[in-house]
Amino acid sequence: MNIKRWFSVVGLLLMVLWSQTGYAETIKIGEINPLSGRFAQQGLEIHQGVKVAVAEANAAGGVGGRMLELVSRDDQSQPDVAIARAEELCGWEKVLVLTGGYVDSLVGPISEVAKKYRIPYVASASLQKELVQHGNPYFFRVARLQGFVEPLCEFLTEKLRPRRLAVLSAATPGSTELAQDLEQCLKTHGLSVHLAEKFRPGTPDFTPLIGKLANMDIDVIVSAGFSPDHILFVRQLKENMLSPKAYIGPFGIAYESFIEAMGADADYLYSTCAWDPEFTLPGTDAVSKEFIQRFQRLFNRQPNTTNMHGYTSARALIAAMQHVLYRGQALTGDAIRRALTEIELVLPMERLVFDQTGDPRYYRHVIVQIQNGRMKVVHPPQRATGTAVYPMPPWEQRK
């Protein structure tokens, strides 16, 4: 045998040996968020939460000795791009699991793609009831609409009892459904809605609507719009000197950035919140603190509830994967899916248990009110950190 042939044989042998040493390959976790476009801010926040969870797991040695690799994509806040990214991650990158997602018009299409490829998808922020009603065994989520509606309904019927109530919604699936479900719930408790209106998110001028509200003598306004809508609406309420007894914005108010943008005008506004550095689920103080510290180190600011949603969804997947490996099973999509239905985690945001349809059984917001630039929990009484100021002092008496 001549030298050349000898070398090629040895080379081949070495290659075979090398591939067998099994340098542990990474576990690919796919993530699709709106990192640009209309929902860029929230999408980025979810992405940050997911990163913290992955960093945490990798710092502890990974899952089953294998490191986690986060493959992130941007859906640009557009459904058709979300579909394309999901196809790419599932079909091309061949990720093992999927997470992330903000707003149902983006999560919905992604969940259908995940179902097609049999890849478990734990969505970080999804509300629409319908997504879990069509038998998608691969779809899970760490949030759900009832978590918003039930505390709001309770708060309105037990604490506020408004005479004339207006419920406004933005023309998006989550907002519309919240308004509808809230109306239903209120009706069963004997409270009727006097004005229900839908507006386009990003409307430039609410003055005609405000005129209508003034004319109908509305005392409590619930607006399922988003931060930009609240900023404009409250400002125009102030300009027109219309002082409702309460203004409740389930989305987009319980955020540091909103309070900063509004200044003193944010006071007395109500909202719902799943988690905040100042109030976490009883018994989760240690986990919450560790999350906050790691987040501060990575991103140099305080985390908010949206970050926590991303963290929670990733934690669920990591726990499920550990569950599968602990049982000595192979890490496949179906095994992880089954594990997800069995896990029970106590996390800062909620006690995470998925029901048969993929909804989180114990997801529930608290009602907060902004007082002196800080959020105070005002409902339920067991978790309250302050008392509600109702009615809101009229604009003339405020500075």
Binding site: I83, D104, P109, Q128, L131, Q133, H134, T176
Partner: protein, 326 residues
């Protein structure tokens, strides 16, 4: 007969052999790409866009440029989705019925707007699409309004005797279904354009007054072309709904589905049969595979650029110019 076939083969041009290659590539695509789902999905979407462009061009053949074809696309998508979700109809039937709904919408639009010519018709179509969009968005009782529709059943299943093929759950099967639809539509469009109907449309487009004076019922032909165009656009919309299983108003009535068929048809060649389809098959994969990774934001500039270049330098479209010089 052998002689005539031989002479036909001699007349085959470079372009024709290119076409044969394209056809073969599409036919064997799943095998060629190793059943890669992502590539198949992109090509399925490209074929669907081809059907959209072909349908648009049926109207374009009569001289009307529509900037609001998403109205029919959305009506078809919502129609079929709602019928199959609420009434449990098989997608075969709901897709067809959705086409009929689109025809209804086309009739309304035609009665209102076909009196307008050229630019004014284009502007009217731009405005028209807002109407079904806002109505669908607000009519919560019927369409679930802004909620969108989720969990739409997949593409229909095929029963042939005891053989049962669930197309919806197989990406390859979905690809072939859309491929067959595209081929069928192509054949139909080819037949139409070469028939007396097509000649009449051409006459209406080029010399309307002259056509009228020789007895061509101009208004009838323009309406027919609009209705046919609406029908197939609606069917494409319905297929889209079953392919992606989740639709919303902003998506299916959006400017994206109004602009693309128009861009593809004009760049491919408004006065040709194959042009629109070829443009879809070339531009969309180009956009998705090459430009999108390079420019995650703004990659759609490609369509704008190609449209501008076509209007300025190649008014007959790419395929139209190739055909002319053949």
């Amino acid at each position: 007969m052998i002689k005539s076939i031989k002479s036909r083969i001699k007349k085959l041009t470079f372009a024709d052999s290119g076409l044969v290659l394209v056809f073969l590539a599409l036919l064997l695509l799943p095998v060629l790409v190793g059943y890669n789902d992502y590539i198949l999905q992109v090509l399925t979407h490209a074929l669907l866009l081809a059907t959209l462009a072909l349908s648009w061009n049926i109207l374009g053949q009569s001289g009307s440029v529509s900037l609001g074809h998403a109205a029919f696309f959305g009506a078809g998508a919502y129609g079929s989705a709602l019928l199959s979700l609420e009434s449990g109809l098989s997608p075969w039937s709901s897709i067809f019925l959705a086409g009929l709904i689109a025809i209804g919408l086309g009739l309304v639009m035609g009665l209102a707007c076909l009196r307008l010519r050229g630019a004014y018709f284009a502007l009217a179509s731009l405005a028209f699409v807002e109407i079904p969009r806002v109505i669908t968005d607000n009519w919560d009782g019927l369409t679930r309004g802004s909620l969108g529709l989720a969990g739409i059943p997949g593409l229909p299943s095929l029963h042939l005797g005891s053989w049962y093929l669930k197309i919806g759950s197989s990406i390859t099967a979905s690809y072939y279904l859309v491929f067959v639809y595209a081929l069928g539509l192509l054949g139909l469009v080819g037949f139409l354009f070469r028939s007396n109907f097509g000649l009449a449309l051409q006459a209406v487009r080029e010399e309307e007054t002259a056509a009228g004076s020789v007895g061509v019922r101009v208004d009838v032909f323009r309406m027919l072309s609009l209705l046919l165009s609406a029908f197939f656009t609606g069917i494409s919309g319905a297929c889209y709904a079953h392919l992606v299983s989740y639709i919303g108003c902003g998506l299916v009535y959006g400017i994206h589905f109004s602009a693309l068929p128009m861009v593809l048809a004009i760049c491919g060649g408004r006065f040709t049969i194959l042009g629109p389809a070829l443009a879809a098959l070339i531009l969309y994969p180009l956009d998705q595979f090459i430009f999108h990774p390079l420019l995650p934001a703004g990659h759609e500039f490609l369509y704008g650029l190609v449209l501008i270049l076509t209007v300025l330098f190649l008014p007959a479209g790419l395929w139209g110019t190739i055909r002319k010089n053949a």
